[in-house]
């Protein structure tokens, strides 16, 4: 069971929709966040306390687990933005400071 406040997850989803330029709404209950867009409805809730995962993400009736909020964010983005291609972080080999 995640101890992250649901309100914070809701705020993250609301701001993420704005950042991704996706129209939609976010609704919160005490234990669940629902992202509602024109073509999708996505539910996000904490996984059970005995689960090795932290979150459950339900998209089009199919529930998948997620190990972190970053994984949740990735699943939601991929569902809402079919053209999305993530950029893996690259670490520079050159030093920052001479």
């Amino acid at each position: 069971m995640s101890g992250v406040p649901i309100a914070l997850v809701g705020a993250l989803m609301t701001e993420s929709l704005a950042a991704w330029h996706v129209a939609g709404n976010v609704e919160e209950t005490c234990d669940r966040v629902v992202v509602i867009c024109s073509t999708k409805q996505i539910g996000i809730e904490p996984a059970a306390a005995d689960s090795m995962f932290r979150w459950l993400v339900t998209i089009d009736g199919r529930t998948r687990s997620a190990i972190s909020l970053l994984a949740v964010l990735r699943q939601v983005r991929e569902a809402l933005d079919p053209g999305y291609a993530s950029n893996p972080v690259r670490v520079a080999v050159a030093p920052l400071v001479l």
Partner: protein
């Protein structure tokens, strides 16, 4: 291979006709630039710019095969390696600095990426300063019209206003627009290509013998700088956190920024109070999805231990960045607390 001090490689960029080559030609006549190698990227079959540079010919390389930002992996890195090899062999005039003049249409970000990530260049070069020239006469119209010119300004460490000899005064609106695009960059002035050259191409962060770094100017501005009236897309803002940030939270935060923002994160720099390293703050720097490994300061530059990060972005809302960091920090704290309970 013998151990050598990394050579700073600086980038001179700016839109077409903004005075890059004129300024460079002037600089290379100065004694302090006598040990400088130059790579000039010219876009077109017949390059002319390198003919305008009067210096030791074996230290000037013209890249005329195409736009540098499009062919950077092969052409630029190979050229740099060749230059370094010639230097090692004593086959060219010794140099201790390289300046890359991009074509006026080039996106500087891929050039910076190449310098930051090429494994064959690792240990041999270090990213120097990014200098962007702006035509004081036509610059405002160019910034209005050309998105790439706005990006060239946004990633600069120093901005040079050129062609001041052609006008009576600098338009306040141009200065305002430059400050809006990149308020942290120093704005310098060139007349007939002449400019006070001291430190122009230096890296904005240089380590001193005592491990200190001049952080405050590098991180300016600390306060939010919104400028919707100038550019709807490019925004500069800072976020601050008084609570220390766990190392894993910072790592995940940077990973999320890279993953979701990519090319829209034009530049990120900051000083961060890492929870696991309270005495030695981390200095972070990224260009788009490429980040330097953090540099660790010997000590805090002042009594203020607030983490500060400056973002130069395109279409990335500040509020999203703030909430993202808060959510990741909360989750990391939650996992850490749960782990502590299990251990106990």
């Amino acid at each position: 291979m013998k151990a050598t001090t990394p050579i700073p490689v600086s980038v001179l960029t700016g839109f077409l006709g903004s005075g890059k080559t004129t300024m460079l030609a002037h600089l290379l006549r100065q004694p302090e630039f006598s040990r400088t190698a130059v790579i000039i990227n010219e876009f077109g079959e017949i390059g002319l710019d390198h003919e305008l540079i009067e210096t030791s010919e074996d230290n000037v390389v013209a890249l005329t095969t195409g736009c540098l930002c499009c062919k950077v992996r092969t052409d630029l890195t190979q050229t740099l390696q060749d230059l370094l090899h010639r230097r090692d062999q004593g086959a060219c005039t010794a140099f201790d600095r390289v300046v890359i003049e991009t074509s006026g249409l080039a996106d500087p970000a891929p050039v910076l990426h190449a310098l930051m990530t090429d494994t064959d260049l690792a240990g041999r070069v270090v990213l120097g300063g990014v200098v962007t020239t702006v035509d004081a006469v036509l610059g405002e119209a160019t910034l209005e019209r050309e998105a790439i010119s706005r990006k060239q300004v946004a990633v600069a460490d120093r901005i040079v206003l050129s062609k001041l000899d052609l006008i009576d005064g600098i338009a306040c609106s141009l200065l305002g627009r430059l400050a809006a695009l990149n308020p942290g960059a120093a704005t310098l002035r060139a007349v007939h290509g002449r400019i006070e050259s001291e430190n122009l191409f230096d890296a904005p962060l240089r380590g001193a013998d005592d491990g200190a770094l001049e952080i405050s100017s590098w991180l300016a501005p600390a306060r939010e700088h919104t400028h919707d009236h100038y550019d709807a897309e490019i925004k500069t803002y800072s976020i601050a956190r008084t609570e220390p940030i766990r190392a894993v939270a910072l790592t995940l935060f940077l990973e999320a920024l890279a993953e979701h923002c990519g090319a829209d994160l034009l530049r990120l720099k900051g000083i961060v109070h890492i929870a696991e390293s309270p005495q030695r703050p981390a200095v972070i720097h990224g260009v788009q999805h490429v980040f330097h490994p953090p540099a660790w300061l010997e000590r805090w530059p002042s009594a203020d231990r607030t983490s500060r990060m400056v973002f130069i972005t395109r279409r990335i809302p500040r509020r999203w960045v703030e909430v993202l960091l808060d959510a990741i920090a909360a989750e990391v704290a939650d996992v850490s607390a749960a782990s502590s309970v299990h251990r106990d």
